[in-house]
């Protein structure tokens, strides 16, 4: 297939040089855009319509309105998944951003800043599945195996083992910790670049006016880097809305830790071909889609504004 793909590109480039003279620019533009348009059509545009239609029909192909959605909102497992997803989206982006900001500010200008940044950034390169292996060890419960470091440390301050991973009260929070662990590095890198963009003179001027370091941070640095903070929060929110791997790897759905993306996959996987389950999983996918829209709309607006500035 790779060879076929390269052959197509080769032919395309040859064709570009041999386009008719009339309306030449336009023909060339079309040829240049062709592979991308094909991939988008196959992978994104047609699928979105297919899933939308699937979510509004039943297994016989009849239009059933919002019946699959009312199933979703009536099903207690789906409701748990929606509730948990909202908890994820509220908690993970805020804490990841706060940690990233604190760390970026703390290491700004110190000796060994690059190394300090790299340490926190490393988890970004680690898969959710790899992170699940790492944190499974950290969270290990006493029993067959020795307890993990988390329980040992909690034991020092007198907290009993949390009963991970079967405790429905804590499982979502314990998974969110892993998400924060992964995303904080991203926040650090972006916010660190933004902090370096704040003119030193502004901070010095604030200090001359009698502001202490905390006031200067709050009144000068934060407002100056607000756009970057929002970008980080939005990006992490989108990633969080689609979180799947962590929940899947921990099998959290068995213990009340399900989220929408995982519920969608399980509904799809358990459905027979052509059964109503397929249509229900489409409805769950569409719910994720609707939840993501405001965040991406924000990104698009941001991008258009940035282009206008240029």
């Amino acid at each position: 297939m790779m060879a076929a793909f390269l052959a197509v590109i080769g032919i395309l480039l040859l064709a570009i040089d041999r386009t008719p003279k009339r309306g030449r620019e336009r023909w060339q533009a079309i040829l240049f855009l062709l592979p991308a348009i094909f991939l988008l059509l196959v992978g994104l545009i047609v699928p979105i319509f297919a899933t939308a239609i699937s979510s509004l029909t039943n297994e016989a192909g009849h239009f059933t309105g919002f019946k699959n959605f009312s199933w979703a909102f009536g099903d207690s497992q789906v409701r748990t998944a929606i509730y948990n997803t909202l908890r994820w989206v509220i908690i993970a982006p805020i804490i990841a951003t706060v940690v990233g900001l604190a760390y970026a500010y703390a290491i700004d200008g110190i000796k060994g800043e690059a190394l300090a940044k790299a340490l926190v950034f490393l988890p970004v390169a680690i898969s959710f599945v790899g992170a699940a292996v790492i944190w499974k060890l950290m969270y290990q419960e006493p029993g067959l195996e020795p307890e993990g470091l988390v329980n040992v440390v909690l034991g020092w301050v007198g907290v009993k083992p949390l009963g991970f991973p079967t405790n429905s009260h804590t499982i979502t929070y314990l998974l969110i910790v892993i998400m924060i662990w992964i995303q904080a590095g991203f926040a650090t890198v972006v916010l660190s670049a933004a902090i370096k963009g704040v003119p030193t003179e502004m901070i010095e001027a604030a200090k001359i006016d009698g502001a202490n370091a905390w006031q200067a941070f709050r009144k000068v640095t934060i407002p100056s880097i607000r756009p970057s903070i929002i970008v980080v929060m939005v990006t992490v929110s989108i990633a969080t809305l689609k979180v799947f791997d962590l929940v899947q790897a921990f099998g959290a759905q068995q213990y009340g830790g399900d989220v929408l993306a995982n519920k969608m996959y399980i509904t799809y996987q358990q459905a027979g071909i052509g059964s109503i389950g397929e249509h229900r999983s489409s409805a769950l996918a569409m719910i994720i889609f609707v939840l993501v829209i405001p965040f991406v709309a924000f990104q698009v607006r941001q991008m258009i504004n940035n282009r206008r500035v240029r």
Partner: protein
């Protein structure tokens, strides 16, 4: 040509931060003694919290089953290479638990899955930046906006397309491509899903290249095809590198697409699918290899990342938006 932004330092600047000067400027920064101490404490605590878990896994992966079952990894006892041997060359010729086939699968998935969108996006963004035609801004914004489509929405219809082509009723409007059950299906999925980000990154980069250069080449009679091959591609190396690393790490670490598109077929399953299965299956025996397996799956993207972090960060700053 030397005055061109060939280092690609430009693509990051306007998207995220108001300005990103090189990192030497913080030298003149002033801080009171107190905050610098608070800052150091924060830095050390967060730095430790973020590295200890991975370090713990590394240590655990070298410990014998007995050691793993009796004490925590911080005891540093019971060193063995057995788990790594089981997962690579096998023990006594038994390679049934080897992770290598899956790592090979991941590599076989990652390389085309990065190359295909790379080429498609480079071509597309050339047209969107350098060829004048009506509606090009509109097309660019639409492509960017397609990031709104979550994988969960797109992947099942794409799988159906791969298996059976497109039909309206019983009329085939697009034939099946014969990719079903092959790595090609996984490539196609990753290539499609990566395009919005790829086009965005390269469009940004290309917009920074001075217009005069293109116009000079046009006056000399070069066609768009020639300009793309001979002028643009060499200039675009940093942007191509940036996207490739991004996509490499993204695809290597993906579980969802691999799981759905491979349909559980071990011949085309990436290493993440295997590890996820191992996690689910290791409450009993065999759990002792999990830390080593986890570490083996992490090590390749980590190495790529550490070697090429500069490009990765640049891509991240330019468009930290991924579907």
């Amino acid at each position: 040509m030397t005055q061109l932004p060939t280092t690609g330092g430009g693509i990051a600047t306007t998207e995220v931060a108001p300005a990103v000067p090189p990192s030497g400027t913080s030298i003149g920064r002033v801080r009171t003694a107190l905050t610098s101490r608070t800052a150091s404490v924060i830095a050390i605590v967060i730095g430790l919290l973020w590295t200890v878990p991975t370090f713990g896994l590394l240590v655990q992966s070298f410990r014998t089953k007995e050691a793993q079952d009796s004490t925590g990894w911080w005891h540093f006892n019971g060193f063995t290479l057995e788990h790594y041997r089981t997962l690579t060359v096998g023990i006594d010729g038994d390679t049934s638990s080897s992770l290598m086939p899956y790592i090979v699968n991941s590599l076989a998935i990652v390389i085309p899955a990065a190359t295909i969108p790379l080429v498609a996006a480079a071509l597309a963004s050339y047209a969107l930046v350098w060829i004048d035609f009506r509606g090009r801004d509109w097309i660019f914004v639409s492509i960017f906006a397609m990031q709104v489509v979550p994988l969960q929405v797109a992947v099942v219809p794409l799988l159906k397309f791969v298996v059976g082509g497109w039909h309206i009723g019983s009329v085939a409007i697009f034939p099946k491509l014969g990719l079903s059950g092959t790595l090609g299906a996984v490539w196609l999925a990753h290539a499609c899903f990566a395009l919005p980000l790829a086009v965005f990154l390269m469009h940004n980069f290309m917009s920074e290249i001075p217009r005069d250069l293109l116009e000079a080449a046009r006056i000399d009679g070069a066609s768009h095809g020639q300009i793309f091959r001979q002028v643009m591609l060499p200039l675009m190396v940093p942007a191509l590198a940036s996207f490739s690393i991004f996509q490499f790490i993204w695809v290597w670490n993906d579980l969802f697409v691999g799981l759905v598109m491979s349909g559980g077929n071990p011949d085309i399953s990436p290493v993440t699918v295997k590890i996820a299965n191992l996690i689910g299956a290791t409450s009993g025996s065999g759990g002792e290899v999990l830390p080593a397996a986890g570490f083996l799956s992490i090590i390749i993207p980590l190495a790529v990342f550490l070697a090429l972090q500069r490009f990765f960060v640049r891509g991240l700053l330019a468009g930290s938006v991924k579907g």
